[in-house]
Symmetry: C2
Subunit: 413 residues, 2 copies
C-alpha cells in the first residue's frame, strides 16, 4: 500500500474502478436498487413535506441509526454514560442531540425561572443569581471539546467502533459569562484558593476547582451550539473548564462555595483519581492530555481498494494541536496529516490524509502532538509509566487493523 502516490488531491483524479457508473450504464440498469431508473425518481413526482412541518427539525429517517451509543444491560442508568457516534460524524462540531452524556444522578428537569446560583464562602458579597441576572453579564462564545476522563478506561479498550473506544468526547460552541466576572462581582477574599461547584442533580455532584482556573478561561455556560443547553448538558447552567476532565465541568450548577481548601468530595477522592503501579494515587489530575483517533476508516467499517481518505479528530487540554501524524504501516513510518482550519485551542481538530490502499492487510493509526510538544503515547508506553491499575486518563494511540477484505477492526482486540 502507498500513501497517495499520485500527488496531492488538488492535482489528481479519485474515481475508482466500479465505484462510479458512466451515464450510459445508467440507462440500462436492471435493478432499481443498483441505479436510479432512467425516469424521474418518485420523490420528484409529488410535492414534498410542508415548510414548518418540523418547527424543530430532526434527522432524516434514513439516519435513524446515528444515535448516542448507550451501553446495553447495565443494572442502572442513573449513573452511567452514553457515547457520541464519532465514526458517523464529520468536521469538528458535535450536534447537541448526539453530545456524549455522563450523569451521576440522572438528568434533572429544572425550571430555569426557579433555578438559582448561589456564590458564597470567601467572598465579600454573597450572591444569589437568577438566570436573568446571569444572562445580563457580558457574554463570550468559544468552541471547546469536553471529554470524560474515562475515555476509554484502561479496562475498556476492546470496543468495536471509534465510539466504543473514544466516544466520551464531543465539541461545541459554548456561550456564557466568564466565571471571573461573576466572582469579581462577589469579590474574592485574599485567602480564596478553591471554588467548590455543586450541581442541582440528585447526586449534588461536587468538584473543587483551583481559583487560578476560575480566573482564567472558565465560563458559566447557558448556551451550546447557538441554543440553550440541553438538559443532558446541564440546562440551564453549567461550568465549562476548557481542557479539564469532564466531570469538573459541573452541570445544573447551583452553588459556588469559595474556600481555602478543596472539598475532597467523592468524585475527587473515591473516584477520578489515578492509581499508580506503586500503590499511590494521583489526585486532581485535571488536564486531558493530547489524543487523537482515526474515525474513518474505523472499526466495523469496510474500505475498498484505491483511494481512501483517512480522517479523524485530535485534541489537547493544554492548547492547540500542532501536528497529527498518521501511520498506514503499523507505526513504522508516519506522515503529517492536514489540519482543518481554524485550529482552535482546546477544541477538536479534524485531520485528513489521502491514502491509496492496495489491498494488503495493515494497521493504521494516528498520534497527536500539541503546542507544548507533548506526543500522544502508545498504550504500551503509557502503561510503562502508569501501570494497569489506572482507570482514567487513558490517551493512548488507537490502532485499526485493516483486513484483506477491507474490514476494519480494533487493533487492541
Amino acid at each position: 500500500m502507498t500513501r497517495d502516490p499520485d500527488g496531492p488531491p488538488a492535482r489528481r483524479r479519485f474515481l475508482v474502478q466500479g465505484a462510479a457508473a458512466a451515464v450510459g450504464a445508467l440507462a440500462g440498469a436492471a435493478r432499481a436498487e443498483e441505479a436510479m431508473p432512467p425516469g424521474t425518481p418518485e420523490w420528484m413526482t409529488v410535492p414534498g413535506a410542508d415548510v414548518g412541518s418540523q418547527t424543530y427539525g430532526t434527522p432524516s429517517r434514513f439516519e435513524a441509526d446515528v444515535i448516542r451509543n448507550v451501553p446495553k444491560g447495565l443494572k442502572q442508568y442513573i449513573s452511567a454514560s452514553s457515547r457520541t457516534p464519532l465514526q458517523d460524524l464529520d468536521g469538528i462540531l458535535t450536534p447537541n442531540g448526539l453530545f456524549y452524556e455522563r450523569h451521576h444522578g440522572g438528568i434533572p428537569d429544572i425550571d430555569p425561572a426557579r433555578h438559582r446560583l448561589m456564590i458564597h464562602g470567601l467572598v465579600e458579597t454573597p450572591l444569589v443569581l437568577t438566570m436573568d441576572d446571569i444572562r445580563r453579564f457580558p457574554s463570550e462564545s468559544h468552541i471547546h471539546f469536553l471529554e470524560c476522563s474515562g475515555n476509554p478506561s484502561f479496562e475498556a479498550i476492546k470496543g468495536q467502533t471509534a465510539s466504543d473506544l473514544v466516544g466520551l468526547v464531543s465539541c461545541a460552541e459554548w456561550t456564557g459569562v466568564r466565571l471571573a466576572t461573576v466572582l469579581r462581582e462577589a469579590g474574592l477574599k485574599p485567602e480564596a484558593k478553591w471554588v467548590v461547584a455543586e450541581g442541582a442533580d440528585a447526586a449534588a455532584l461536587t468538584r473543587s476547582i483551583p481559583v487560578e482556573k476560575c480566573l482564567d478561561d472558565a465560563l458559566l455556560v447557558y448556551s451550546q451550539n447557538g441554543e440553550r443547553l440541553r438538559p443532558q448538558q446541564g440546562y440551564p447552567l453549567r461550568v465549562l473548564l476548557p481542557g479539564f476532565e469532564g466531570n469538573m465541568n459541573v452541570k445544573w450548577l447551583r452553588r459556588l462555595n469559595v474556600t481555602a481548601e478543596p472539598a475532597y468530595s467523592r468524585e475527587e477522592t473515591a473516584k477520578y483519581t489515578d492509581s499508580m503501579p506503586d500503590g499511590t494515587a494521583r489526585q486532581f489530575t485535571f488536564v486531558m492530555e493530547a489524543k487523537s483517533i482515526i474515525t474513518r476508516p474505523s472499526g466495523t467499517q469496510r474500505i475498498v481498494r484505491g483511494f481512501n481518505e483517512i480522517t479523524g479528530i485530535a485534541w489537547s487540554g493544554r492548547g492547540r494541536i500542532q501536528r497529527v501524524e498518521v501511520s498506514v504501516d503499523d507505526g513504522r513510518t508516519w506522515a503529517d496529516a492536514a489540519l482543518q482550519a481554524p485550529v482552535l485551542t482546546r477544541a477538536l481538530t479534524r485531520f485528513r490524509l489521502p491514502w491509496s490502499w492496495d489491498g494488503t492487510p495493515t494497521t493504521i493509526m494516528s498520534r497527536a502532538i500539541d503546542e507544548t510538544g507533548y506526543v500522544q503515547p502508545s498504550f504500551s508506553d503509557l502503561t510503562a509509566v502508569r501501570g494497569l491499575k489506572s482507570f482514567y486518563h487513558n490517551n493512548a494511540i488507537v490502532p485499526w487493523r485493516v483486513a484483506e477484505t477491507g474490514e476494519v477492526a480494533n487493533g487492541y482486540a
Copy 2:
C-alpha cells in the same frame, strides 16, 4: 444614556439594583416563584432521567417556544419559508433543528442509497455518482452562513422580532467535497462557462452557477454541524456556494449540467432578479452584501435600566467582517463593537458592546463593514439607489426603538 461609562467589562461590576438578591434575602423569601425555598429543590430529591433516555436529544421542555418562525395563514406551505429565531440564539452557529427553511416544492424524502448525482454536458467523461462515491472524495469542512435573498424583502420590514425581519439567515459547519474536485474528475471542456444545478425536489429547482465559482470555494455538501444534512437542508446532498444567495445553493442535488450559457430558469428570470427604479431588472446578483442586526436587545424584548450587553450578528458574502459599529443614539454617534474570534470568511460574526441604559427612550442599531470596505447602508440610502420596486437583496440597517418602559420595537414600523 451612556456607553459603558465605567470602562471595559473586565474592570467593573455589573450587578444591578434589584436584579440580584443577597443570600440573606433568600432565606426569607415568601413565594417559591420568586426565589428557591431555603431547602433542597425538588429536582435534587429524586433521581433524574436515565442516561440514554434520549438517544437523539431534544431541548428542555422549558424552551418549547424556541422554534422555527413559520408564517401563519399562508395558502400553501409547499413553496414558502420559515425563519431562525435569531433573538433566542447565541454565538455564531445555528442548530440544525432551527436552521431557516426555504423550499419551492416541499421537502422530499430521499433514500440516499438510491440517490444519484449526474454530471454531464460539456465534460470529457459524464459521471453518475452514488453517495458512497461522493463520500470517497477528499473532504473539507468550513463554517459559512447561508441567507435567502429575500431577507427581508423590501415589502416586509414591518415584522416585530429579529427573526421576523432577518431570520432567513443561519450558519453552520459544512462538510463535503470541493465541487472543483468532482468537476475535474469529469473533465471540463474548454467552452464550459456555467454549471446548471438541479434539485431532486418536486420543483426540480434549477440554478446556473458561473464556472469560476464552481472552481473556487464551492462545495458539494453532505454534512452540516457534524451530522448528515437534514431533509430540510438538502439531504443527502446539496451545493454550497459561500456568500451567494440561498436558492443557488441547490438542495437535494441530482444533476450538474455543464454548459456554455446559463439555463435562464424560472428562479433566475421570473424570480430572484432585482427590479430597478428605471424599469430594468438586475439579473444574476449572486453575492449577499454585508449586513448586521442587533439580536439582543431586539423587538418584543424588554430591558431594565443599567448594564445591558448589546449583541448581534454580522456577515458578508464578500469575505470577512472587518468592523461592526453600534449606535445607541439613533445614528448620531457610533462605537466599535467587539468581534467574537475567530472571524471567519463568509460566516456569521458575533459582535458585542457593553451599554448602560439610563431609561431615556432611544434607538439602537448596528452597521457592518466588510473587508472590502463596503458599509451596510441605511434603508433610505439603499432605496435611493434601488427604489422601492425591488424585492430581494435588502441589506439595510435595522433600527430598534427602546421605549421609556424598556420595551424594544422595530424602528421601521
